[in-house]
């Protein structure tokens, strides 16, 4: 690692809510065994839409024990966050011994914010509380109140890259001395608003999600939350806590190209990767695994492939790359955090989850996509890439413990 590298930040806990599992063990088992959470959507009307499937969380487990808590908000996104945070804090060993409130930061990324409450507010339901909840920072503040934090509370929205940007922002707060511990991650819910939006954009596929496959024809949406506990290394060590891994570097950049499509040359994404590696003090040769955004749209997957070849050079062909969008659907603000957690679990378990539904190679997308079957491989350093509306790009560099 170069002396110019930023201070690594320990990841001491993680928690998830996803269409394939609502705790780390179920999530990991689903990823490596190739479970897909894509099914017919049941929670809101879709009969009039072109595409009626998505990665829905059918029933939030353990909600019964949570509902005894008077602070539990009605908002679905907030419940996802609280559920994932409970697991992450327990995993980090902080559930019974919480950090000093003023030293605990909360940083959440979201592409949709409190959109469910917005619909309620427009119907005239819920009064001022629904209005406050409907703003983009509504779920973050519900989580902050549930945690009783007195530290910094931030909401970031770089669209579908939000779950990566939030981790980078939280790490920066820790490095700058604003917090010792941060609960950071991403969340979004699948709702009619967003399903209809992507429906009118014709971005949703009627086929399977097939990242990097020649037949790929679009995305399917999903929902969930991913939360990690980030800590200054010294704090984790003082608690005698072995980290799950390390966040070494992050960068978020603009494309300046198109409001929905990626820059055809991927210049913003390439810069994000280079800057994240720079912050980590590592060169491209250090990357042993890539978790790609891999939405399964023709444009995204082609651009990502080109960028990886450009940044990693000839080694790009030797580095395994996966996408878990076919497992979960595109979970928007949660996606990048869930993918970061997957990278750390891959390092812990020595196994790479596969890219599902891969059958026909695309001459333009010719990297090693870990097709259909999990693979034994223990990446020490992983790169995770994300893109979003408005020309947002983000890259994370993570290391296994």
């Amino acid at each position: 690692m170069s002396p110019r590298a930023a201070e690594p930040v320990a990841v001491t806990g993680a928690g998830v809510v996803s269409p394939i599992g609502q705790d780390l063990d179920a999530f990991w088992a689903g990823l490596v065994t190739g479970v897909s959470g894509i099914a017919e959507i049941e929670r809101f009307p879709v009969a009039d839409l072109r595409v009626t499937r998505g990665g829905e969380v059918k029933k939030l487990h353990r909600v019964a024990e949570l509902t005894h808590d008077a602070r539990l908000p009605a908002c679905r996104a907030s419940r996802f966050l609280i559920h994932a945070t409970r697991e992450a804090l327990a995993h980090a060993g902080l559930a019974a011994d919480p950090p000093e409130p003023a030293r605990l930061a909360v940083v959440i990324g979201t592409a949709l914010g409190g959109i469910d409450d917005a619909a309620r507010a427009l119907r005239g339901d819920g009064g001022v509380r629904a209005l406050c909840g409907s703003l983009y920072d509504g779920p973050t503040w519900n989580l902050a109140r549930w945690l009783d934090t007195e530290g910094p509370v931030l909401t970031v929205s770089t669209a579908c890259a939000s779950g990566a940007t939030s981790l980078g922002v939280a790490a920066e707060l820790i490095r700058a001395g604003r917090a010792d511990v941060a609960v950071a991650g991403g969340v979004d819910v699948l709702c009619r608003f967003v399903q209809r939006g992507f429906n009118v954009l014709r971005s949703l596929t009627r086929d399977q999600v097939r990242p990097f496959d020649r037949r790929r024809s679009g995305i399917l949406l999903g929902e969930g939350a991913g939360i990690v506990v980030l800590e200054r290394a010294a704090c984790a060590a003082a608690r005698g806590r072995a980290p799950l891994g390390w966040l070494l570097g992050h960068a978020s950049t603009a494309d300046g190209a198109h409001i929905t499509a990626p820059d055809p040359e991927g210049r913003g994404l390439a810069l994000a990767i280079r800057q994240a590696l720079g912050e980590a003090g590592l060169g491209p040769d250090s990357v042993e695994f890539v978790s790609a955004h891999g939405t399964g749209t023709p444009a995204n997957d082609r651009v990502e492939t080109d960028v990886l070849k450009r940044v990693l050079g000839p080694r790009a062909y030797a580095v395994p790359v996966n996408s878990i969008k076919a497992h979960l659907g595109h979970t928007m603000g949660a996606a990048a955090t869930l993918e970061a957690i997957m990278c750390l679990l891959a390092g812990r378990h020595g196994q790479l989850p596969p890219t599902l539904n891969y059958g026909e190679s695309d001459p333009h997308c010719d990297l090693d996509w870990v097709p259909n079957e999990a693979r034994r491989h223990r990446p020490r350093v992983s790169l995770s890439t994300s893109l979003g509306f408005g020309g947002c790009n983000a890259a994370l560099v993570l290391a296994a413990a």
Binding site: A102, I115, C132, D148, P152, L201, D255
Partner: protein, 326 residues
């Protein structure tokens, strides 16, 4: 100095970074254009809502853009012009973009929620990232990028990040942009008027920042369980102690926030050795507030250091900006 440390929450620490130079300012608000409009507004009888006219920007680029996107682009254009830069100077990887907003998506979200016949042209603009996205496209910006959602504290966070990026040499200049639009959802926000000062002011504010002379700014924030005293007293005392230490700013600009924090802040400042001049924004401009106050301080070459304070929900934030302002 009579600090409130005995009752303040422990553990609130400031983050420091070299203060940037404000190279250019672009302001369009419900009070009018430029910093002078803010000065004229102080002391006037507040209305409930001060809406901002939609700027007329021509060209194919802005044909589909929403009002908030047009406001953003006009503010950036004004800041660039005031800095004496050609707009092409913003293009590329060496310009960073930091965007803050509490509301500049609500109109687009409402339109899409209520109009089942909405087209493909509408949905992408429901994302908050569409606003800075249109700016980066219009000006070819491809550098570091961050969107923070919230009121005045989000803008203070953005200013600190800008300082960090510039100090690290990641960029040559940063646009810190805030946009707030509520006219289209006023029937909803009007109901929540106890949550903010009146009038609620729409606007777009952009500061074009470049590396400064090395003096440090300090930023801190804390979250109160409730905004009423004594909770507010504890939080305000801790944050002011963190950013000011034993010092006293020449001027305090209360940019946005609720009455509970305002009263706590007045009490905490009264306990300092010297009493600073306090300027209170003549309304609630949310994320635009801190940028407006900085712009106005610069325009009248006000002596520093300036303490900018802002509150949103249960968050109280402060940023101490050193001299010189110009």
């Amino acid at each position: 100095m009579n600090r409130v440390a005995s009752s303040a929450i422990a553990g609130v620490r400031a983050a420091h970074a070299p203060a940037p130079r404000i190279a250019g300012v672009g302001l369009l608000t419900g009070w009018g254009e430029g910093p002078a409009a803010l000065a004229r507004a102080r002391g006037n009888t507040p209305a409930s809502l001060l809406a901002v006219p939609t700027p007329a920007l021509g060209g194919e680029r802005f044909r589909r853009a929403t009002r908030e996107c047009l406001l953003a682009a006009a503010a950036v254009r004004a800041a660039t012009a005031e800095a004496g830069l050609d707009e092409t100077a913003l293009a590329g990887e060496r310009t960073g973009m930091l965007y803050a907003s509490a509301t500049a998506y609500a109109a687009a979200n409402r339109a899409f929620l209520e109009d089942e016949a909405s087209t493909t042209l509408h949905f992408p603009y429901t994302a908050p990232s569409a606003v800075p996205g249109e700016v980066t496209i219009a000006f070819g910006i491809r550098g570091p990028y961050l969107n923070l959602m919230g009121g005045g504290p989000a803008a203070l966070q953005a200013l600190w990040y800008a300082a960090r990026w510039l100090a690290a040499g990641q960029v040559d200049r940063v646009l810190v942009l805030a946009v707030e639009t509520v006219h289209e959802v006023w029937d909803l926000f009007g109901r929540a008027r106890r949550l903010y000062r009146r009038p609620l002011v729409e606007g777009a504010a952009c500061l074009l920042l470049e590396p400064g002379d090395g003096a440090s700014l300090a930023w801190a924030s804390a979250t109160a369980p409730r905004t009423a005293r004594p909770h507010a007293d504890r939080v305000v005392g801790a944050v002011l102690d963190a950013v000011l230490g034993d010092g006293t700013p020449a001027t305090v600009a209360r940019c946005s926030g609720t009455h509970g924090f305002g009263r706590a802040e007045a009490a905490a400042l009264a306990g300092r050795r010297r009493s600073p001049a306090v300027v209170s924004g003549p309304g609630e401009a949310m994320a635009c507030g801190p940028l407006l106050e900085l712009a106005e301080a610069r325009s009248r070459r006000a002596p520093g250091p300036w303490l900018l304070t802002a509150a949103w929900r249960n968050d109280y934030s402060a940023l101490c900006w050193p001299t010189p302002m110009a």
